[in-house]
């Protein structure tokens, strides 16, 4: 119904942060559904990052830990901000300064593989798949900047841990482990984060990818623990669009909890409004909890392009 659709749209606007105006060309290739057809995570990550970077060539984000590497001849169209004015004054020649990334940062990608991450609606990619794509892309991006990248996967406990390395061959380990991840087990996110805070002794960037189905006060404690260890924390809450909208066409459904297998008959049209309100409250609490602990929080849905997540990640890093 038109009013129903309108309501749905309004709800989405409230829960989704403002997305950047992605250019149509690259965005098409960064669509998760398209990327899902690429069998190799490495290829996928490369396609994402290269496409993403080429789309940003006129953007201000050239790297967050850059250092000067060389000069090159100025060509018309180059950004005048990188023109070496001193050299111009001395030699009356136009040169552009080029930089390269800092290689000292260590970044750990934390992926929630609990059973709830298995959910996908109508054959779309699951939340875990999306998380893997995102992790692969971020790993490729970080490795391209010579940062050390590690991988941690957990459900009730940490079951996969790849220490952070910056060498190129390390990526294959990361991608290999990523491709092996499967959803299962219950979510005990706060406990897992506390456990990781003890494992990750060297401070760095921690990227947490989860659906965050845990109580906010418990998460707040876990975030504080990680922040106490000196980590910069970036949280991606990955949700299926239908987890937010609860938009089912069936008049009645038998819902089964992914983790407890508890079943419950539901009339979607009756439950929808109450569910949406509670989901909004949960997301808002997550946002408040993240803000209170200076955690970079972003809620993304599995139908959003990956470059949106990369854009969000980079923009927040630049602000630091």
């Amino acid at each position: 119904m038109w009013w129903n659709r309108r309501t749905t749209t309004e709800t989405r606007d409230q829960t989704t942060p403002s997305a950047p105006p992605a250019s149509p060309g690259p965005a098409r290739f960064l669509d998760p559904e398209v990327l899902a057809r690429i069998g190799s995570l490495e290829l996928l990550a490369r396609a994402v990052v290269e496409g993403f970077m080429s789309g940003l060539h006129r953007s201000p984000f050239t790297g967050f830990s850059t250092e000067f590497t060389e000069y090159r001849q100025y060509n018309p169209g180059d950004d005048l901000r990188y023109l070496d004015w001193r050299l111009l004054a001395r030699t009356d020649r136009y040169f552009i300064k080029k930089y390269r990334a800092d290689t000292n940062t260590q970044c750990h990608l934390l992926i929630d593989t609990s059973a709830s991450m298995r959910y996908s609606q109508n054959g779309r990619i699951s939340k875990l798949q999306y998380a893997k794509f995102l992790a692969a892309s971020l790993a490729y991006l970080l490795n391209r900047q010579q940062d050390a990248v590690g991988l941690v996967a957990f459900d009730e406990h940490v079951h996969t841990h790849v220490p952070a390395r910056s060498r190129t061959g390390h990526m294959r380990t990361i991608f290999g482990q990523l491709s092996l991840l499967e959803a299962g087990g219950e979510t005990r996110l706060a406990e897992s984060l506390h456990e990781l805070a003890e494992i990750l002794t060297r401070r760095g960037i921690v990227v947490l990818i989860s659906d965050f189905y845990d109580r906010s006060e418990r998460l707040q404690s876990a975030f504080q623990h990680l922040r106490f260890r000196g980590h910069d924390l970036v949280a991606f809450q990955v949700l299926d669009k239908n987890e937010i909208d609860f938009d089912f066409e069936d008049p009645i459904l038998l819902l089964e909890d992914s983790e407890t297998n508890e079943q419950m008959p539901v009339l979607p049209d009756v439950v929808m409004s109450g569910y949406r309100a509670r989901m909004r409250e949960h997301i808002d609490e997550m946002r408040r909890c993240a803000a209170a602990n200076r955690v970079d929080y972003e809620m993304i849905t599995t139908d959003q392009p990956l470059d949106f997540a990369l854009f969000s990640f980079l923009s927040r890093r630049v602000e630091k």
Partner: protein, 681 residues
Amino acid sequence: MWFLNPLFWLGIAAVAAPILVHLVRRTRARKIEFPALTFVRQVPQRTIRRRTLRNLLLLILRCLAILLIVVAFTRPFFTRRSAAKDSSAGATVILVDSSLSMRREQMFAAAVQRAAAVIDEARNDERLALLTFGNRYEVVSRLTVDKARLRSTLRTLSAGWEGTDYEQALRGAESLLGEQKTGGPKRVVMISDFQASGWSQANASFKLSSDVQFQTFDVGGSNPQPNVAVTNVDAHGVVFGQKYLENLTVQLSNFSDTPRDRLEVNFQINDQTVEKREVTLNARETKVVEFTGFNVAEGANRCVIEVVAADFPADNKFYFTIRREAPAKALIVESASRGRSDSFYLQSALSLNDALPFNFTVKTAGTVNPAGVAENALVILNDAGSLSSALADKLKKFVQDGGQLIISTGPHTDANSFNESLRDVLPVTFRESVQTKAAESVALTDVKFDHPIFEVFRESGRLAAAHVFGYLRSEPKPAANVLARYEDGSPALVEGTAGKGRVLLFTSSLGPSWNDLPLTPLYLPLVHQMIRYVATTDEGSWYGLGQTFRVAKESKGDPPAVDSPDGTRLTDSRLTPDGDLLVTGRQPGFYRLRYAARPEFAAVDLNPLEGDFAKMDFGAFINGVTGGSGSAQGREANRSFTNEEIESRQKVWWSLLLLALLLLLTESLVAQRIKVTKMVG
């Protein structure tokens, strides 16, 4: 409750449709793995329960609407029997109309079928009685609980030939219900075609008791069948000449609302067609056709008037008899006088009409042989003077035995002698003779114009112009009937009876001695009327159905055998104290009276009104019969007819459909509310 179309109950299967839909939709719940069940669980479950209840309400509304539609199509109706199931057993009298009009189509069979249904529907302990009725009622079975016997009796019934009298039938029913002493409801069930001719609101004099329920079943249909009938024939039953000189009038009636053109009317005597006519009758018109101048054979003649029409055939024929007899002897006794006879004017008047049934002989009182008086059928004492005692005695006996006597006075009449000698037969006692002064006269007054003698003078008024100069003052006896008086109040014409005979007395003269009547045009018709009047016999040309007629015994003493029109010999006849036979006409046609010398016939005809099939004013009938003060329940019962009519009056299906529509509307509103809740939610 009964159903006009019970087959539509098969449609009840349609109720399964919404139930199946409900079940199918309910079992189609898809199982989905969902991670955020925590938030779903936090939604109040009462919303879901309310929705479930609403769905159940929708299901019930849909099922109920379909059920009501199905029931509406079965056309249900309620009968009094079903309403009175719980009451104690009572008594019911079933009145089945067996009149002539019930012979139409299969009407009587339908009435019998309806009566059987009433018997079947009655409680086993209810007492039932069965009556058939036409003009009168016949108790077929008194109150009994033996239903089987009633049913078998019912099968033996057949429609009769009588007219209809609903009042008589109801009297019979009420009389039978009086035998019910054990209490309980009383009911009269009348099954008939309800002809208008069977009941007259103006003449209604009977009402059912207030505790009697009156139920009717009309098996006559709503459109009366068109009908043409011969409704009356006015003919002289006895004639004395070969040629029928009077007008034989035939009355034809068209009882329908459509005109009938060129109907053929046949007049037959002894199975030979005498004359044919063509008659056109407009809607609801009655027309008179006259026949005259036809020859009549000696003895009894069977006459039939038939209208040829392809409708109800029973009343298309009208039967009557004309018997030709030889003229009887009549004696005129006058006083001996010189010159012109006192009976000159009388003789002249009587000789001018061949149709008079007498051969007259004039004699003086002295020349009359008293023994021969009895040979005459009529004796006229025309100013006869004093009578010998022998003659007076014979005259008295003559009158007592049925002879007709006309007496006129005059100057020769000895009042005292008459008072003495004819005291037993004279209707008056003579007083003095009255003579008016010269050039004075008295007139006839106080004339009874409704009497057959004077009815022909009703319009003329000329009787008052007659001048009477002399008369015998008289005093009428108590039993006498004074037909006219003089101006002083003294009787002028007096009628009396003695024994089987009749005496007509004119206290003035039939000659010109005491009045100028013979010199006026009044004289001839007055004399003829007097002669005809005394000559009139009670014998008509036909009898009505149900009428009892007398069949005189044979000269040997035994009554003749009588065959009914269908040829069967009558056995249940009754005899009068004189030995004559009394026969009641039960069939239309000719009853053959088998006299040894020559057969005689008696014609019996139907009630002419029975051919009019127009329906009665039913409301007036019910009000008239129940007094209009019966209970509402009783009045409602009176409106019951056939099942179709009962159903048509009650129109339960209409209410059911309306209710179903309301349910569907409610269902739509509830469904819409659920839908809106879903969209807004």
